[in-house]
Symmetry: C2
DNA sequence: AGTTAATAGTTTAGCGCTAAACTTTCTGTG
DNA sequence: CACAGAAAGTTTAGCGCTAAACTATTAACT
């Protein structure tokens, strides 16, 4: 048994998988750092960006675009509404979402920092590697539907 | 402002980032599926694999190898010990971890299925792409320390 | 119009994870 | 030897996420 497990631990495909999981965890936590200072998480910021991109968007659409459940959106909005970043406007059964002034300010201030951070991390790849990376991700993306 | 945001939404580097985050979420949830049937999560299974790989390993080492906090390991072990999959053996201030019979059985039964699943997902990449992917991940891995 | 379906949102229980404060045990140095 | 500090584990508060059951509104069909 032991030898089987040790053999397994040298399998390049499995090693790639574990590295993938590990790298993502690191990447995401790196991304979170600068946002913590503003008392807004990366997830909340992404949500804010959705609303900034399309004012009046509803929660369902947000959930679909961010690939999360609508329950999750509800929870984040609860907190963000309390923080005065965003507003729900009930229209029948749907909620239309709008940025408050404070929310708009935060997006304006932080978007460049956020983007800079992403680019800084991805800048370790060459043009060619970035192209390869995109193509690989697209493949996964298509496969996993 | 709107035009700036819309311009941003076409930036290839940012698009790559968002795709990366999205793809990982999908990949991880795919990986979880077959494990759910056995009442063991992927994380618990990975932990089980650590113990199988090195019987008598301690929690701290597990935490380091899995890139998680030791508090997290404590929590998982609590549940897994209740399920009778693993045993703690206190030795001074450290806990030595051992698989129970049930735990060993689960590893034996499930390891091939788990590995098959990983390989199936990664098999959409060509040899060349897998090589590229590994090299890209290694770069991130080194950068993020 | 009245009943059935689907759709939007909320709630709740629970897993996964962290950070930070807290025991307990082990060094190491004067 | 004693006492400071490091190291291993535990606890707790809290965020991020899901699934599933729930409410409320709208659509659709006869």
């Amino acid at each position: 048994m032991v030898s089987l497990i040790q053999e397994r631990s040298r399998d390049p495909v499995l090693l790639t998988w574990y590295r993938f999981v590990r790298v993502l965890r690191k990447l995401v936590s790196q991304m979170d750092e600068p946002i913590k200072d503003l008392n807004v998480s990366r997830y909340q910021f992404d949500l804010l960006m959705q609303v900034a991109f399309e004012e009046g968007i509803n929660q369902q659409t947000c959930a679909q675009r961010m690939n999360v459940t609508k329950g999750n959106i509800t929870q984040h909005l609860d907190r963000m509404e309390k923080q005065g970043l965003v507003q729900r406007q009930k229209q029948g059964r749907t909620n239309c979402l709008y940025l408050t002034e404070k929310g708009t300010e935060l997006v304006d201030d932080f978007m460049p920092i956020h983007d800079q951070r992403v680019k800084e991390i991805l800048s370790i790849l060459t043009q060619e590697e970035l192209r390869q990376f995109q193509s690989i991700l697209r493949k996964f993306d298509r496969k996993l539907d």
